[in-house]
């Protein structure tokens, strides 16, 4: 579980850092207007919020990647009764054990 969490959280963290640097270098956040008003008043706030927005987007993407990685065996009903399932099978306990 820990490793899956790392897989979901960590790559987006790296990418968000790079994306935030690139984005805020190209655009001064104070010049981003929403209905004629600056969207965010402080630059440090904008960099911070920008970083977390990028991170959240990346997390969503990584979660979907992990979700779609599940093979057919993990999605379909298992033909074996639980106690006959091989050791290590995520379905050996019950449906909660998967992922």
């Amino acid at each position: 579980m820990m490793q899956r969490l790392i897989h979901i959280l960590w790559p987006p963290f790296l990418v968000a850092g790079v994306a935030d640097i690139l984005f805020t270098t190209l655009f001064d956040p104070l010049e981003i207007l929403y209905r004629g008003e600056p969207l965010i008043e402080h630059r440090i706030a904008a960099y911070t919020i920008g970083f977390f927005v990028f991170w959240l987007l990346g997390i969503a993407s990584s979660m979907l990647t992990c979700y779609f990685q599940r093979g057919a065996d993990e999605i379909n009903r298992c033909p074996l009764p639980p106690r006959n399932r091989p050791a290590g099978c995520p379905k050996r306990e019950d449906e909660d054990a998967c992922c």
Partner: protein, 472 residues
Amino acid sequence: MTDDKQATPASADAPIEQQLYAIRQKIQPRAVHGVFANWRIALVLLTQAVYYGLPWLQWDNRQAVLFDLAARKFYIFGLVFWPQDFVYLTGLLILSALALFLFTAVAGRLWCGYVCPQTVYTELFMWVEEWLEGDHLARKKLDKSPWNANKLRRRGLKHLAWIVLALWTGFTFVGYFTPIQTLGAEAASLSLGPWETFWILFYGFATWGNAGFMREQVCKYMCPYARFQSVMFDSDTLTVTYDSSIGEPRGPRSKKTDYKAAGLGTCIDCNVCVQVCPTGIDIRNGLQYECIGCAACIDGCDQIMDKMGYPRGLIRYTTENVVKGKYPDAGIIKHVLRPRTLIYTVLLALIAGAFVYSLATRVPLRVDVVRDRAALSKETDEGMIENVYRLQLINMDGQPHRYTISAQGIDDLEVAAARETTAAPFQTIDIPVSLIADPEELKGRSIEVTFTIQATDDPRIRDEVATKFFNR
């Protein structure tokens, strides 16, 4: 999902989980002394003296190194960089990457073993751990012992010390991005801004978590460099290597035994190399991606070899080709020069040269032009065509300057407003400028024009920007 639901005892979870994801065994490495441990101590002290000390250094009445995010200016000693200077940051990153490639090709993961912040902070945190909880055996005992007053006190003290260290690290980190003296005064009077507070806590938390708990897992599962460093390796790269040709067959023996006569190698199978390894691997199984090249096993093994009266170097920095017997250890130096390292060196030298040249000849003036979008062009009372622009001028120099503004591209083009302007040191100014041209001289719908901004006191300080002049 299944018809046959059977309750399984909770204890059955553990072995199954272990097979799915290798559950991390907490590693309590044994402390080690020796040449490479001393190198690491020296480099931990050096890098941290720089890291914690640099933000406090002053230069021209300002912080010497300050990446002032709020003002979008980076100060590095005498130099000041704007977002427009992004190319220098890119250059610096390319230089760092090439240097890393070169070092890796020559001597493996020197970066990981001695200066990577993950290694350095883990080392610092382990010093605290050793000081407050004792050596690896005492720590293992403490891990197993039930929670009592002693454990609570030791653990509490350790975490207190860790948290102080982590918070100081976080504070220093934020001090690179916002003036640290102000930050210090604010921290002392408990009036830190919300964003500064957040980042100090966030970075402090990351330090505490990574150096206190994650440790080698960061290297094994999170570090991209650990995954691709092996592509820089070849058979002439120095790596921490167990020389099986002298070590095997391994086995315990008494010190008095003539091991050669007994048909044994010099490895006494004492497992010290495994006990000292911060990533918990057995180097005798050969080069592994988990090995961060810290050389703790070399120090550990050399101590044992000394005790046994055997020659040192059963585990040592050596190359694959030496172990294969292609050349002796003395030949390593000669093999440092090879196409791979030469290419890295030449690339590094070229880019470093271009970087320094570009910095040295940098003109401390930058002008951008923005067209007034509301009105492309208008006709004046005299029947002339006028275009209005906004010039954004950055004086990147430490001196104030006076500039003249001229424009070329159309015959008899006249700069109407603001033919001259001044800017204070490191000041960015916005100036509206209007150009007036005779419609008879205008050929076509839009004509390319160039603004020239020239400092009055220094002919080298000039910048040109191109833009368009629109006819009616």
